[in-house]
Structures are given as C-alpha cells and as structure tokens.
C-alpha cells in the first residue's frame, strides 16, 4: 500500500546536507509509490527547496523564522511537531546527525512512538519496513521494525544511496507558519572548529592520521592527499591527545562514526575504540610501518612503510592518474 512519508531535511552553512537526499531516497522506498514530503526549517531556507525536488521529494514544506537560525530542540521541536500534525504521515525519517539524534527521540516520545535510530539499510517485507542498524559499535547488526503505528527512523549518512538529481523535477512549496515560543534553551555562541570544507560524517573519502603522524605539521601531507581527492581529514584519539589536531577530527567510539567509501588510515595502530568508528567503511587502506599493527586486520589493502614516504608518493600517483583520466 502506498504510504505518506515525511522527511526532515537538514542544512549546514545554508547548504543541504547530502544525508537529506539519502533520507528522501529511503523515503521513496518506504512510500512504495506514495508521497514523499520533504520539510526544511531555518531562518531563511527558500534557496534550499529546489534540490529537494531534484532528489525526489513530491512536495516540500518550509518553515522560516528567525528563532530557527540556530538549532534548539525546543524551537525545531515545535516546528517539526506542527508539520507532523498537519501532514499526518505514516513514516518520518531524519538524518542521524547531531540534530536528528537530539530531536527524533523527543518527537517519538511526544508521539508515544517507536524510533529506529541510526539505520544503515531499509527493506520492505510486504507492508513492514525492516531497518538494519549496527549495534555494539558495528561488531554486530540487528534488523528491526516498529510494531505498529507511525514508523520513525534516523538514517546514518553515507549508507543509503541518494537518487540521481533530476533538475527538471519541481513541485509546490508550502509554507507552514509556526509560532515559536518559550525557548527554554538559548544558544549563546557557536564556535566553528571543523576547518576543512568536507564534512567528516558525510565524506566519501577520509584520510586519517594517528600518533604516527608525529606532529601538527605531520598532518600536512595527509591534507594534501585529502585536498586532491576531495576528502576529509580525520584522526585517531592518539593524534588528538597528542595535540596534533583538534578533537573535532576524532574518529572512534568516543568520536565520530564514519562509513566512507574509502578510509585511508596513516600511522594508526587500529585500537578497538578506533575501529568502532570506522570499521564499517567500504574500503580500508592501512599505511603503517609496523607489519603487526592490528589495523591491517581490518584493512582491504595495506602498505607496510613510513607514512611520510608513502603518503606523498600516493598523492603524486593519484595526481598522475587523475590527470590522464
């Protein structure tokens, strides 16, 4: 049966995050021929509605309010709840990002509903939507469903493929006016720490450095390789603890969880807490001078060698082949 699916899109620096499009693709699958409605909230989001259609939304709802400039669970909670009430969807999808993690449980609690967090896969079993999600830091997986009523889920970035953008698609944008009041939390300041342009949790390629990088300058060759590949730079906690880079780059159990297509680990030993954040990457390359390093146990390809020799050579080689192709 065709279903109505509401997708909450998310923007960062006034640009839609790719996971919004991935969530729309997931929504299409659940809708099974029904309608996918994308909603976007913020201070000024008018320029963001077109791409939502291009990536598959059938209808777009926007909420604009200066009180939505910064995310707060109260502000966005009120806006999203009102949209849910006016759309009355069969399913709601959100990105499993800071925002989605903060807001989806609140919405589910308000609606007395089940919520499947951090889904990496979706399939239909007749009428039932079955989600796949990693548990125990990716050491196991579970398939899960909502027993009855509205289905709510958050989607992990980089796991569900977005549809091809079709710029000829368009549709009607509805404006929902929400009276946002009684904000109990106030954002006083936002300090940007992530410097590189590529968002770590959504990057298709990540070049990560560990204690083996040895200094802040040691990250430079990694950054060069990353720039060439349009990749993000990440790090182990070892590198962060040693002050070679900011904690915002940390990947692992207590850092970010990433699933890029390609993860290049340079001078990282492969501690279990690090693996917790990256072992589900599609392809893993390890560069380490110690042939016994446990990172080689999860790597698809390994080079035993000095990263300061290997990484610049790798950059050179990529330059060569990318130029000729």
């Amino acid at each position: 049966m065709a279903k109505k699916v509401l997708v909450f899109a998310e923007a960062r620096d006034n640009e839609l995050r790719n996971v919004s499009f991935e969530a729309i693709a997931a929504g299409k699958e659940i809708a099974a021929g029904g309608e996918v409605i994308a909603a976007i909230a913020g201070e000024n989001v008018s320029s963001l509605t077109d791409p939502l259609f291009h990536y598959g939304a059938d209808r777009v709802i926007k909420v604009e309010d200066e009180k939505l400039k910064n995310y707060t669970s109260d502000g966005y909670g009120q806006a999203f709840l009102q949209i849910v009430q006016s759309v009355d969807p069969d399913a709601i999808l959100m990105p499993h990002t800071s925002m989605g993690k903060d807001l989806a449980p609140r919405l589910a609690s308000k609606l007395d509903a089940g919520l499947i967090s951090d889904a990496t896969g979706i399939e239909l079993d007749g009428e039932t939507v079955v989600f796949t999600r990693p548990i125990y830091s990716g050491k196991a997986f579970e398939k899960k469903k909502v027993k009855e009523g509205i289905v709510i889920a958050t989607i992990r970035p980089n796991n569900i493929t977005a549809l091809e953008s079709d710029e000829s698609r368009s549709g009607e944008v509805f404006e929902e006016s929400v009276e946002i009041k009684d904000l109990r939390t106030i954002v006083k300041e936002v300090v940007r720490k992530s410097t590189s342009g590529v968002d770590l949790s959504e990057a298709k390629v990540i070049v990560a450095g560990g204690r083996g990088v040895k200094s802040e300058e040691g990250f430079e060759p990694l950054q060069e390789l990353a720039d060439l590949l349009g990749a993000a730079v990440g790090a182990s906690r070892g590198a962060c603890d040693a002050d070679y880079c900011d904690y915002s780059l940390q990947i692992g159990q207590t850092g970010k969880v990433v699933t890029p297509d390609l993860y290049i680990a340079c001078g990282i030993s492969g501690a279990i807490q690090h693996l917790a954040g990256m072992s589900n990457s599609k392809v893993i390359v390890a560069i380490n001078k110690d042939p016994e390093a446990s990172i080689f146990n999860v790597a698809d390809y390994g080079i035993v060698g000095d990263l300061f020799e290997v990484v610049p050579l790798l950059t050179q080689e990529f330059k060569k082949v990318l130029q000729t192709s």
């Binding site: 995310y71 669970s73 800071s98 449980p105 609140r106 589910a108 609690s109 007395d112 509903a113 089940g114 919520l115 499947i116 951090d118 548990i135 125990y136 830091s137 050491k139 196991a140 579970e142 398939k143 899960k144 469903k145 909502v146 027993k147 109990r184 939390t185 106030i186 006083k188 936002v190 300090v191 940007r192 720490k193 992530s194 298709k204 390629v205 904690y247 159990q253 207590t254 850092g255 390609l262 279990i272 917790a276 599609k282 392809v283 390359v285 390890a286 042939p291 080689f296 999860v298 790597a299 698809d300 390809y301 390994g302 080079i303 290997v310 050579l313 790798l314 990529f318 082949v321 990318l322």
Partner: protein
C-alpha cells in the same frame, strides 16, 4: 541540589560479540558502567561538592547491576536505585523511558545527568525521550557545565563544532567525551560504598500499567557482519606498491 544520574550497565568495549540461539551471548562477558555514564556520574559528584545536595544514581536492569551501582557509590554518589526489570520479557527505549518517567514522577530534581549514548544499543534516545516525558528542557552531548543559581551554562559538542547554551533548571543533560576525567573509586570510597543505601524497586511496583510499557519496536534478527576477507598487504618497492594501490582502488575496489 537534587542531582540524579541515569546509568546503564553495558558490555566492556573490548568484548568480542558472540551470537547464540539468535541472541548476543553474555557468557563470560565483562560488564562496565557505560563509558559516557561515567562522565555523568563524575560531573554529578563535582556538582554536589560545589553546590551541596545529594547524588542518586538510578539504573534499570537485573540484579547484576548492583555491582556497577556500588562502583558509582564508591566513586562518591550518595544513593543508588535499581529498578529491576528481570521479569520483563519485552523492552525497548520506549519502555525504559516509561519506567524512568514513572520513577521520577514523584521525585524532586534539579538536574538529571545521563550519557549521550550507550555503547551497546547506541540509540541515544533515552535522554531526550525522558526529558520530553518529564516536561523539562534538555541539552545533549555537553562537554562543560556550570551552574549559577538556577541557570546552567553549557558547552556542547555539535559534530566537532562547539555551542554555548544556556538553560534553566530543572534540566536533563547528556554527557559527551571531554566533560571531565572520571575518577577511579578509592579504597576508602569502596569501603564506604558498602554502607550507602541501594534501594531495589521491582518495575511493577512503579505506578504504571503493563500496556503503557509495551515496547514499540521489535528486533527481528541479530547477526554478525560478514567476515572480512584477509586484506592484501602489498609487496615490492614502495613506489611500485603505491602504483599498485592506486590501480587497485580504481579498478578493483572502484572507489576513486
């Protein structure tokens, strides 16, 4: 100040996962306080030391959780509460929240601290779900907390960026790495903990109907990821290895 911590007992991070009869086996597994909840407990103790009051650590689980609750008492918490759900055969984040909400219903609290996510089920739902049920504000993934009167000022981690957020008590917060360095229980702490109150409540003694706690979700299957084939460690001159790697990434793995 009335300070509460919600704490989960979880698998030690280093544990291998074994599946038996379609379930994750707990045999021989080492359990710990969920790592993020350690930050919450530490912060609670520091708040009490600065502002006075009492720290109560609440956990839902079976009898075994007593061990982790005693650890929390040994760190410096004043009281512990175990809500025993052993008899419950079905539970998810909705259920756990409903039980916690029923427990907190007649309590007075200024602040409730929890972890931002568990290291087993890892949904991060409990904090925001509970705050919503209790009708209080919440701030997730905090890395700094200052309380002045009834105003809490926090720093929170937002995917690496930092936000400074202000809110009024009563408040629920969830801890992120960086909030503090959790202390180890001292020997005198461990001795004292033995005499501190640890109350056990059966879940059905809480003022709540069975059908109000029925899980909303169901696990269909639990499985291990396909075993990764042994990777290819390249050989030869470094220059040749690099050349081969680039070729493999483009032609075999097709990721570049």
């Amino acid at each position: 100040m009335n300070i509460y911590v919600i704490m989960k007992r979880t698998f030690d991070t280093e544990e291998k996962i074994v599946i038996e009869n379609g379930k994750i086996s707990e045999e021989g597994v080492e359990f710990i306080i969920n790592p993020y909840d350690e930050y919450a407990i530490e912060e609670a103790i520091q708040l009490r030391d600065d502002h006075g009051g009492e720290v109560t650590v609440v956990s839902i689980g079976d009898e075994e959780v007593e061990k982790e609750l005693r650890t929390a008492l040994a760190m410096g918490a004043d009281k512990a509460v175990l809500i025993n759900n052993e008899e419950l055969d079905d539970s998810d984040q909705y259920t756990t929240t409903a039980l916690l909400a029923a427990y907190f219903e007649d309590k007075e609290y200024d602040i409730i601290l929890g972890g931002n996510v568990s290291n087993d089920n890892s949904t991060g739902q409990i904090g925001p779900r509970l705050a919503e049920k209790l009708g209080i504000a919440y701030v997730t993934t905090i890395t700094k907390l200052d309380i002045d009167g009834t105003t809490a000022t926090m720093e929170r981690d937002v995917e690496g960026d930092m936000e400074v957020v202000e809110a009024q008590l009563p408040l629920l917060v969830t801890a992120q790495q960086g909030l503090n360095e959790p202390r180890y229980p001292s020997l005198p702490g461990i001795m004292k903990a033995k005499k501190k109150p640890l109350e056990e409540i059966d879940y059905d003694d809480l003022d709540i109907d069975e059908d109000e706690i029925e899980a909303k979700t169901e696990t269909i299957e639990v499985y291990l990821p396909p075993k990764k084939e042994a990777g290819k460690v390249l050989e030869g001159e470094i220059g040749d290895q690099v050349e081969e790697l680039v070729k493999l990434l483009r032609q075999e793995a097709k990721v570049i």
